[in-house]
Structures are given as C-alpha cells and as structure tokens.
C-alpha cells in the first residue's frame, strides 16, 4: 500500500519528478505535494467540478484520478492561465468584469472547463454555454453572471485573435 511509484509529469510547462503512493489522488498531489492550491476540492466524488484541470488538453476531474495515472502526461491547472500578476487571461478578465464569481471557490473549475470549450467553440450560443458548464456547481452566482462572462470572454478572445493577425 505504501509502496512508492516514480512519476514524471509536465504541469503548466514545468516538469515534476516525484515518488507517490498508488492511492494518492491527483487533486491531493497537485495541492499538497506541489502546492498548486488553485485547484479546489469540493466533493471528492466527481460531482461539483471544482477540481477540473486539463489532462493532455481535455478537461477532467482531478479528484477521481490517481497521481500515478498522470505519469508521462501533460497537465494544466488554473495557475497556467494568467500571464503574470497584472495580466489575467481574457476569460479570467471577463469573469472579473461580468461578476462571474462571488466566493470564487468554484471558479478554477469553471475556468478550466471553459478554456478548451472556447477553443473548440469560439462563438457559443447561450444554450451551448449552459450545456458546457452543466458539470460545474456554483453555490453563489446563480450561473447567470457566469454565462454573461463566457459571452464577454468569447467576444474578447475573438477580437484579440483578429487584431493579432
């Protein structure tokens, strides 16, 4: 049970090599072993979405995966989004401007769910946005402001793509 397994993972562009127990959850590994506490843990059984991260580019729940399963894979957490202390990712900026968060507990999970969604679907309809966030629970906002934030982010991200061309 307490046997350790070596793993090598790329997270937010940095390579980490660690020894982990077989039953260590990926969410606990990120938070406790690596100090990447932006990934939140709400329910630990896959329901709330707070722990969502990108695993090889796809949004997954880190609380229902084991750290050993990340060996050889590339992960991204919410810490990867902002370029620096002063410059937020356009999606984060839109959450800020449209009041897409109150307590902020659910926010990292929403962001990591929505980053790949907006990449695949740069001009989503309201129905598509609601479908995309159906796996994330927020107890504060009532979701309307989150939907507004996603619409705003989609606008912003499209105009930055156009202006950088």
């Amino acid at each position: 049970m307490s046997e350790l397994h070596p793993i090598k993972v790329i997270i937010n562009g940095n390579t980490y090599e660690r020894q982990v127990e077989a039953r260590l959850l990926l969410s606990d590994f990120l938070r406790h072993e690596l100090g990447l506490s932006g990934t939140h843990v709400g329910c630990e059984h896959g329901v709330c979405g707070a722990c969502t991260i990108l695993f090889d580019g796809a949004a997954v729940r880190s609380c229902i995966m084991f750290a050993v399963q990340a060996d050889g894979h590339e992960l991204a957490t919410v810490e990867s989004l902002a370029k620096n202390q002063n410059e937020l990712h356009p999606l984060q900026q839109a959450f800020h401007e449209a009041h897409g968060l109150q307590c902020g507990f659910c926010t990292p999970g929403f962001l990591m769910t929505l980053v790949p969604f907006l990449q695949e679907n740069p001009s989503p309809t309201e129905a598509e946005i609601r479908e995309a966030i159906s796996g994330n629970l927020c107890r504060c906002t009532g979701y309307q402001h989150i939907v507004d934030a996603v619409k705003l982010a989609a606008e912003k991200m499209k105009s930055t793509v156009v202006s950088s061309q």
């Binding site: 630990e44 896959g46 979405g49 695993f55 949004a59 997954v60 229902i64 609601r130």
Partner: protein, 283 residues
C-alpha cells in the same frame, strides 16, 4: 499496476481474481473508493491498452467498439453518428463532458448501473460483447450480460474487450429520451425505443428498454409485442406506454422521484419516444 499489454492485464487478473479490479476511466470506481464504498487490494490500470480504443465498421455493417473507447469519442465519432444514431443521441446524456473525457464504454457496461444510458443502448441495439481471459475468449449476447444491480455475467478473470453493434434493418427508427433534474445528472427515468416497420407502414418489431426502472436495463417485451402489427396512433402508443409503465418496469424511487412519479414519467416518455421512433422509421 499499469500493464502495457492486454496479455499482461489479463495475467494479473487471473492471478488476483476478485482481489483485483480493472481501472478504466475510473469515473465510477474512484468515487466509490473515495467514499470507502469499494475497497480493492489491487487496481489494474488498463489505460495504457491503446489497442482497445477503436471504432471500426466491418463489411457486414457491424460496428466494432473497443471497450476502452472513451465516451467523449463515441459522442463525436462520425461512424457512430451515421450507423448507430441511437447511441449518438444518448451520449450527451451520459454525465458531463469532463466525465466523458475519461469514462469508457466498457467501464459503463461492466459497472451495470441501472440508471446508466450505455447498458440500455447496448440492450436495445442487441449488442454482442466479447470477453477475454488469459486463456480464451467468448461472446456474450447482451440479453445474457446484465445480471442485476451492478452485476454482469463477467467472471472474475474476464475482461470485457469489445462491443459489436449490428446494423439497423431497413425502415427502422430509434429514439432515446430521458428526464433528469439537470443536464448530466443521472436520469429519474429514460428509455430507448426502436421500431421496424413493414412495407405497409405497420410495426413489424419493436423494442423498449428503460433506465432507472429496475435492477438493470428493463426490456419491456410485452409492450413491444403489443405494438406488433399496429400502425402508429396516439391510442396504440398510450396502450403500450401504460403496459410498460404499470406492469413491466419496477422503479425503486429516490429522494427526487417516487416510484409513482417514475411510472408517470415512463408513460409520458414512452409516448414521445414511440412517436419519434415511428416517424424516423417511416422517413
């Protein structure tokens, strides 16, 4: 343990039997472990077995789906969309995108949750399932696969490796409908309906399979029989729906839905599903 080959995985399972469990998507197994509902001495992580992640169509029109095909891939695959439209229609109802990115076809069938969509679809479509051990393999027809609550016909040394869906006959229409409180939640009730019409537009054969309506996917055979020889009409749909809802399903109820309410849902949803399936069959 994360073996790199199917042989390796099966050898471990033969050696450890019931003390070991396959870890596929982990989307049912790990939550159960986190809750201490499941305890397993050994997990055999099969995620490295890329050879079991495939979707192919053979010369007979059979669709071959590897057991480790992720649910997200099934949802988006053009072959599935074209040749197994019922499966395509049901996929968005399986949990949420983040779960479908990990969850597998084989994991859902092996888990045999009565509220899950994939067992219902497999039963409705008459799937054949291939199970393999370290020594041999066998085919299981889907009618023999589900054995009750979270129980299947798989032996302790067997792994489900492939699911084969036969092509739909001509003049066949299918529909999947479920009702849940929120998109992605487990449904309070749902069903798949498949109808094949004869030349004159009457029902030649039908199948109605329900989810969250018993201790496994529930095949309402009497209601399906009632439809045989009938042309579509509101009365015919209502009669079949009542028979299935009152006599054939056995819903257990939950904090969100009493058995009576589930029977009510069965009546309403059956009518809708049949209407859609008949319309699609006559297109």
């Amino acid at each position: 343990m994360a073996p790199d080959s199917l042989e390796g995985a099966l050898a471990l399972k033969t050696e450890h039997g019931d003390d070991a469990k396959f870890l596929a998507g982990g989307q049912s197994l790990i939550p159960a472990m986190n809750f201490r509902l499941a305890q397993t001495a050994l997990l055999i992580d099969v995620n490295n077995l890329k050879e079991l992640d495939y979707i192919r169509r053979d010369a007979n029109g059979d669709l071959h789906l590897g057991a480790l095909t992720r649910q997200r891939r099934l949802e988006r695959d053009p072959l599935v969309k074209q040749y197994a439209p019922l499966l395509h229609e049901a996929m968005p109802w399986v949990a949420h995108p983040q779960i479908r990115n990990r969850g597998t076809l084989g994991g859902s069938l092996a888990h045999a949750d009565p509220a899950a969509e994939l067992p219902v679809i497999a039963l409705a479509l008459g799937a054949r399932l291939r199970a393999q051990t370290a020594r041999d393999e066998r085919w299981i027809t889907v009618d023999d696969f589900f054995r009750g609550l979270f129980t299947t016909d798989l032996a302790s040394d067997e792994m489900l490796v492939e699911v084969v869906l036969p092509p739909l006959p001509p003049r066949t229409g299918a529909a999947f409908i479920e009702f849940s409180r929120r998109r992605g939640d487990y449904a309070m009730l749902g069903l798949a309906a498949i109808v094949t019409l004869n030349e004159s537009g009457a029902c030649e054969k039908a199948r109605l399979v329900y989810l969250n309506a018993g201790d496994g996917p529930v095949d309402a055979k009497q209601a399906a029989d009632l439809l045989k020889g009938q042309k579509p009409s509101a009365e015919v749909f209502a009669a079949a729906a009542s028979l299935a809802a009152e006599q054939e399903i056995n819903p257990m109820g939950s904090i969100h839905a009493s058995p009576d309410y589930q029977r009510h849902l069965a009546r309403v949803l059956t009518g809708r599903a049949l209407k859609q399936a008949f319309a699609r069959a006559s297109q």
